[in-house]
Structures are given as C-alpha cells and as structure tokens.
C-alpha cells in the first residue's frame, strides 16, 4: 500500500475515532484531539489550500456540535491547516524534535485561535483553556502522534 493511501486512511481513521470517542462514548478530554492530529498529519502532505479546506470541513463538523461559538472551530482549524502546510516550505527535515514541536505548537495554536474566536462570555479563562488545557492537550497530541508516525515509518523521511 502506498504511503499516500496509508496517510489518508490514518486521517480518516483518526477523524472517525475522534467523533466516536468524544461524541459517541463521551470521553471528553480523556481522549486526545485526534481531529487536530489528523489535520496536522495531512497538512504535511498536501498544499496549503487543501490543508485549509480540510481544516474548514473538520472545523464545521466540530462547530455543529459545539453550538455556542459557531465558527470558532472552523477558523481555528482552517488557520491551523494552512500554517501546518506552510511548515513544509520552512522545515524540510522530519527530525524527532521537529515533529514533537510541530504537533505541540500546532495543537496549541489551534486552542489559541479557538479561544480568540469564541465569544468573551462563552470562552473559558485564558489561563485554563490556552495555557493549561491547551499545553496539556498539545503534549497529549504529540505523545500520541509522534510514536504513530514512527510506527508507520514516516519519521526520518527527508524532503527531496
């Protein structure tokens, strides 16, 4: 099976797992944000436009369930996807430290944008949502995604 097919299967699988765990089973923050992981994985393989488009679709799906701040997830995921794809032009290597930083910063930026876009009355305090939950969630996401990338043989691949 080619690398591209495997990637998209993983992206689809992570998206399904995200909604099954968060919505179906109601596990909440006990399960990492698999949707952002899927987006960040895809963003390293596609162009900025398509990554933004995928982010918009993922964001709309999340917004449909959040109700209170419709659009916040859409903007956050679109920007995260676009920025994730931009890193392809800035960082050509796939070193371990880069990958860990990529997922941590990617997830944290997503939380920061979501916090900014959510209404003042609706969002959680900055300290809780961005600094605490955001950083913990980012570490959690990196802890899941980097080993997965290693297992799938994506680590160490250099851009040509």
């Amino acid at each position: 099976m080619s690398q591209d097919v495997r990637l998209w299967l993983v992206v689809l699988g992570f998206s399904l797992i995200h909604f099954i765990m968060h919505v179906g089973f109601g596990f909440g923050p006990a399960v990492p944000d698999m949707l952002t992981i899927a987006l960040l994985l895809a963003a390293r393989e596609v162009g900025m436009g398509w990554a933004a488009g995928l982010g918009l679709v993922f964001g709309l799906l999340e917004d449909s369930l959040s109700v209170l701040s419709f659009g916040a997830n859409s903007v956050a995921m679109t920007v995260t996807g676009a920025l994730g794809a931009t890193t392809r032009n800035l960082f050509v290597g796939d070193s371990l430290s880069f990958q860990v930083s990529y997922f941590i910063i990617g997830k944290w930026i997503r939380e920061l944008i979501h916090w900014t876009m959510a209404g003042e009355a609706l969002r959680l305090p900055f300290l809780e949502q961005v600094m605490l939950n955001g950083l913990l969630g980012a570490g959690y996401a990196a802890g899941i995604s980097v080993p997965l990338m290693m297992m799938m043989g994506w680590r160490g691949r250099e851009a040509t």
């Binding site: 968060h22 900025m48 709309l60 917004d63 369930l65 109700v67 419709f70 659009g71 997830n73 679109t78």
Partner: protein, 295 residues
C-alpha cells in the same frame, strides 16, 4: 522565448489563494446570522454526525440496562408507595369535584428525556435531548431532574432539541428563598477555572439575611421558570455592595455534568411546581449526600 512563471510558483500561488478563500469562508461562518448557523449545524447533525449521536444514545441506554437492579427496585418501591398513598386522595378529590360540579383540572404534562452531550470544546454548557417538537417540546421549556433545576430548552427540532444548563453564562432564573421572604436573580458566575464556576443569588436587599443552607427555589416571576423548582442552597455571602445589596453563593441541587436523564415540561406548565419536590424527598436527598451515597 517568453519566460512564464515556474510551475512550482504557480501552484504555490494557487494554493495560497485557495487557503485565503477557505479562511474567508470560515470567517463568514463565524459571523453569519445565528439562524443560518443553526441550519448548517442541524444539517450536519442529522447527516454526517448522526451515527455518532446515535452511538451516544445507545451507550446511555446500555448504561441504564446495566444499572443496579437493587437501586431500581428500591426506587420503584418508593414510587409505588407514594402512588398508592395518593390513590385515596385522588378519589376523594374527584368525588368533591363532582359534587361541586367543577371542571377537570389541567394535567401537568411532562416527558422524560435522555441527555446527550457532545464532549466538544465550546459545548460545555449545552446538551441535546432525544425529544423534539413531535413530542410536544417547546422553546424555553424548563428542564428538571429529581433534584431540581437543570436548565431550559433553547431550540427545538422535530426529533431532537438543544438545551442549556445553569452553567451557561446567559443563564438567569428569578428566585426566592423557600419561605418566600427574599427574592433575587440566580445567575452563573465564572471563576478563574471552570471548577470555580458557581451559582449566585444576586440582587437581594442588604437588610434581608439568608441563613446558610436555606433552600432557594424559582419564584415564577418573569414567566421563564414556574414557581417552586429547587435551584440550590445558600452557602455563604458572595459579595456585598455598599449597604444596599447582597449576593449569596449557592450550593447547586443539580450537577449538570452528571445528569443523564431529565424531565421536560410540555404544553402549559403549571404556575407552582413545589409539590414535585416535597420537603421529605429533599431531606432524604440531603441524608444521602451527607452519607456520601449516590442519591
């Protein structure tokens, strides 16, 4: 020979334009009218997201099936005892009504519902109910459980409805102390962390004192909630403004995060519901809480 742009640059520009377009689209979704946003959300929920919401319904049903039979039997016994003790009263009441030639009293109608939560950031204060307009649910209907007020319905569709609980920043309820002596507005007040969110009885007169542990009920003023639904108990003074206003912290009767089943009133809600939460039931509930048992 004319030099055109390198294909790589053209592709990069195309991707950039595409990204800007999607970003603009995302920003538009954030600022379009709420009704349009809700239409988009509902169309997603009944199509792509339907299987996941259905999975949660199955999970809740499975948990119910796995509930301790002993607890359910005890609850059934208590209910049977209550119903049988009231049978004579009902009969007597009917006889008196017939003698006085009074019309039938309007029945309080309500529907039990299962609470579904999406678990997505931004949805912390809202919930879905597996009932909709076809079940007689209306916008603004009070949502309660056996302990007291949970919240109210925000939006109703045919099969499903969306409600907000008391942790929503827009939650307000006109309230009073159990003796009806002091009135105020109960609102949610955000803390530095979500765990520090608390209910506050605000707007009470400075000279009126509310002792700790006093039950606070909905007052029925304003018509949003009927009178007599327990909201919480006084747990100390939150703030004092000058010498004219006091606000009290409340210990809520309902922890929304742990609610799985609720009751939604349908049709005409009676003005006074305090009999649904009798003093005896509340005392039993307090005892269970003090003993650390699950009520």
């Amino acid at each position: 020979m004319a030099y055109g742009p390198e294909p790589k640059h053209a592709e990069g520009r195309r991707q950039g334009l595409l990204a800007i377009s999607f970003l603009l689209l995302a920003l538009v979704t954030a600022y379009i009218p709420a009704a349009t946003q809700q239409s988009i959300a509902w169309s997603m929920r009944v199509t792509v997201l339907r299987p996941f919401i259905a999975t949660q319904q199955w999970m809740v049903a499975a948990k119910d099936n796995a509930a301790d039979v002993g607890v359910l039997r005890a609850q059934l016994d208590s209910l049977s005892a209550t119903v049988s003790s009231q049978a004579g009263l009902l009969d007597e009441n009917q006889t008196l009504r017939d003698l006085l030639d009074l019309a039938e009293r309007g029945e309080t109608s309500f529907r039990p519902a299962t609470v579904l939560r999406s678990g997505i950031p931004g949805s912390e204060s809202m919930f879905f109910l597996n009932l909709g307009s076809r079940d007689g649910i209306e916008n603004g209907a009070p949502v309660v459980d056996r302990h007291g007020l949970v919240g109210r319905i925000l939006e109703v569709r045919q099969e499903i409805s969306v409600g907000m609980d008391w942790t929503h920043p827009d939650f307000r309820a006109s309230a009073m102390l159990q003796d009806g002596g002091t009135y105020g507005i109960v609102e949610n007040r955000r803390g530095a962390f979500r765990e520090e969110d608390r209910l506050v009885l605000n707007g009470t007169a400075y000279y009126e004192t509310a002792p700790d542990n006093t039950l606070v009920l909905t007052s029925g003023l304003g018509g949003v909630f009927p009178r007599g639904i327990p909201i919480g108990r006084i747990a100390g003074i939150e703030e004092v403004q000058g010498q004219w206003r006091k606000a009290y912290r409340l210990q809520p009767m309902v922890e929304p995060g742990s609610v799985t089943h609720v009751i939604v009133f349908t049709g005409i809600v009676p003005n006074n519901l305090d009999r649904l939460w009798s003093a005896d039931s509340l005392r039993i509930l307090e005892k269970e809480v003090v003993e650390g048992r699950e009520p």
